[in-house]
């Protein structure tokens, strides 16, 4: 019994890892590989946001900022030759950890909508800072000349290299987060969202765990940002602002905040959808920027929130339950006959 349970819980991991490894072999197109790099990186952001909103009940809109901070710190350190690229990524993540601790401690005391407002404010302030501190960050036009990532002697040159690196990060974040959620920490945080008063009186130090989850998700975003800057070789403030926030929210909404796999699915759907919308709408409309794509996605968000509040994953779950009921129904009929 126990070994079949263990197999069932490992099964999705095995499938996903197999798909990831086989994909570049089956579809060697650099375009597809590159898209999947973004799916992985944005997936990390979606997972972080989904955990904060779903498990912890914290409406924090500041994920893109951690992504950007990680990217800028690693990028700046590399451009100026201060530190090797891969150490820069770790320093970037550490920097993000410290900043998210300093900001999180006071701000996480806010509830619901007010937390959303405050974190939104931080997102915009950070955007302004990225532009205004032009001497360090390169301002509006961005940070240029970021060297490729290298560890030891190995240089990450091709899309495939970054593909495996980013998916390694994504899977690692997924695994770590999944462990945390199914542990004493996960129970503490879920209980604090369900009934703060009961949770407190059972000994859960709610502010402490909220801060821990907050820092965890921000470090994840910071690491993703660090790799992001070496992949793109050029980053600009516009990569880390409101537009990215809307995309991540879309992933969370579509994928459903209930399950981590759903969030990864959300990243896959939205990243690819984004690309298709951009390609096809571009043929129809004269003006084409992210803001025009956004019309489509805005309508999509509204429709999903109205009709599918639990997202795709919730929808898939409902289909699954329906399928199970139909199966049970026929099984009973056949055994009675």
């Amino acid at each position: 019994m126990k070994s079949s349970e263990r197999f069932k819980s490992y099964f999705p991991w095995i499938i996903i890892i197999a798909v990831i490894i086989l994909l570049p072999i089956i579809i060697p197109s650099p375009y597809v590989i590159s898209m999947m790099v973004f799916v992985a990186l944005y997936g990390v952001l979606a997972i972080g946001m989904g955990i904060l909103m779903g498990q912890a009940g914290l409406f924090s809109l500041v994920q893109p900022t951690w992504f950007g901070l990680g990217a800028y710190v690693a990028g700046i350190l590399a451009v100026r030759g201060i530190l090797p690229a891969w150490i820069g990524i770790i320093v970037g993540a550490a920097f993000v950890a410290v900043i998210s601790y300093i900001i999180g401690a006071p701000v996480l005391r806010l509830r619901g909508l007010y937390l959303a407002c405050a974190t939104f404010g931080i997102l915009i302030i950070a955007q302004i800072a990225f532009v205004q501190l032009g001497d360090i960050t390169g301002g509006h036009s961005g940070l240029l000349g970021i060297p490729p990532l290298s560890i030891g002697g190995f240089v990450f040159q091709t899309d495939v290299h970054y593909y495996f690196l980013c998916w390694a990060l994504c899977i690692a974040c997924l695994w770590f987060s999944s462990n945390v959620i199914n542990s004493r920490l996960g129970r503490a945080i879920k209980s604090s969202r369900d009934s703060e008063v009961a949770s407190k009186t059972l000994g859960v130090n709610i502010p402490k765990y909220r801060l821990q989850i907050f820092i965890l998700t921000s470090v994840m975003a910071g690491l993703a940002g660090g790799i992001f800057c070496f992949y793109l070789r050029l980053i600009a403030p516009s990569c880390f602002g409101f537009a990215l926030l809307v995309e991540i929210m879309l992933m969370v909404v579509i994928g459903g905040i209930g399950s981590l796999w759903g969030l990864l699915l959300g990243s896959f759907v939205i990243t690819w959808l984004s690309e298709f919308v951009h390609m096809y709408l571009g043929k129809l409309l004269p003006v084409m920027t992210g803001e025009v794509d956004a019309i489509f996605f805005g309508i999509l968000v509204i429709l999903v929130l109205i009709f599918m509040p639990r997202g795709l994953a919730g929808w898939v779950e409902q289909l699954f339950h329906l399928g199970k009921r139909i199966y049970e129904h026929f099984r009973r009929k056949l055994s009675l006959a």
Partner: protein, 281 residues
């Protein structure tokens, strides 16, 4: 543009946020786009060779209609309403409206001619352009008008009752659905007015809604969501921005408002007396 002028605009936009938040408990992120629509629609109608007055009226009516459509199509049908769902929906709607205007009107920013083409007016030792007088005058009219409305009319009192206790209001027979639609329309109208009166002073374009709306939110929060508080906070923010313009570069100006909002929000959670801990029932 003087601090009082911009402060007046922040105050009006802040009132738009407050009305919807108090009555419907929704953070309506399309408020900023109402402001943008006011200016842009006026420009659209002006370019159709209508006079200034008809263009303004049509722009206001148009924005009111858009506000009502927003409530009916995107807010009312929500099946599992939570505060955060509504907020995300209004953000999405804002993005849609902004995008549509971008596609139809293009990237360029516009300027509308001032309403009265005379020289500056001198008042209490300061010189203001006639447009600035318009702005401040409009704020005064709106504030007085709203306070009369909320205190003297039955409908206004119904709105206040709903803001205080929605369940009790329902029990007394107040139709909250109708009130919500009204509030969205009212916020649309007021936002459009703000956008129109400021249009001759600053440029208008598809992108101005974002910051205008955000600053209105800051002001509404700092003002404790009340009309008086919002007006005072708006003027204070306008003056503060003017004051700090000398010390910090203009790029950081917007960050100041947001910082104020965050400080306000966090400060409210800190209890200064050691005995007053956060209550939960």
């Amino acid at each position: 543009m003087s601090g009082i002028t911009s402060g007046s605009i922040y105050a009006i936009v802040g009132i738009c946020w407050s009305i919807i938040f108090l009555v419907a408990r929704i953070l309506n992120f399309t408020t900023g786009e109402f402001v943008m629509l006011g200016g842009m629609l006026t420009w659209v109608f002006l370019s159709l060779e209508l006079g200034l007055a008809p263009a303004i009226i049509l722009a206001i009516v148009g924005t009111v209609i858009i506000g009502i459509i927003l409530e009916r199509l995107a807010i009312r049908p929500v099946r599992y309403p939570t505060e955060i769902t509504y907020m995300v929906i209004t953000i999405a709607a804002a993005v849609v409206i902004k995008g549509i205007i971008l596609v139809t009107c293009g990237f360029e920013t516009r300027l509308i001619e001032p309403f009265i083409a005379t020289g500056p007016i001198h008042f209490l030792g300061a010189s203001l352009t006639p447009q600035a007088v318009f702005v401040i005058g409009t704020l005064v009219i709106i504030t007085i008008g709203l306070s009369l409305f909320f205190n003297r009319t039955l409908f206004g009192k119904a709105l206040r009752a709903t803001a205080i206790n929605p369940d009790a209001a329902r029990l007394v027979g107040i139709r909250i659905g109708t009130l919500k639609v009204f509030c969205f329309g009212l916020a649309g109208g007021l936002g459009a007015i703000a956008g129109i009166i400021i249009a001759p002073i600053t440029f208008i374009g598809h992108g101005i809604g974002f910051m205008s709306g955000l600053k209105g939110l800051v002001v509404a929060i700092a003002g404790g969501w009340s009309i008086t508080g919002t007006v005072l906070a708006g003027l204070a923010l306008g003056l503060a921005e003017g004051f700090f313009a000398g010390f910090i570069s203009p790029g950081w100006k917007d960050a100041l408002a947001l910082l104020i909002m965050i400080v306000f929000l966090v400060a409210k959670t800190i209890s200064f007396s050691p005995r007053a801990k956060k209550e939960s029932l």
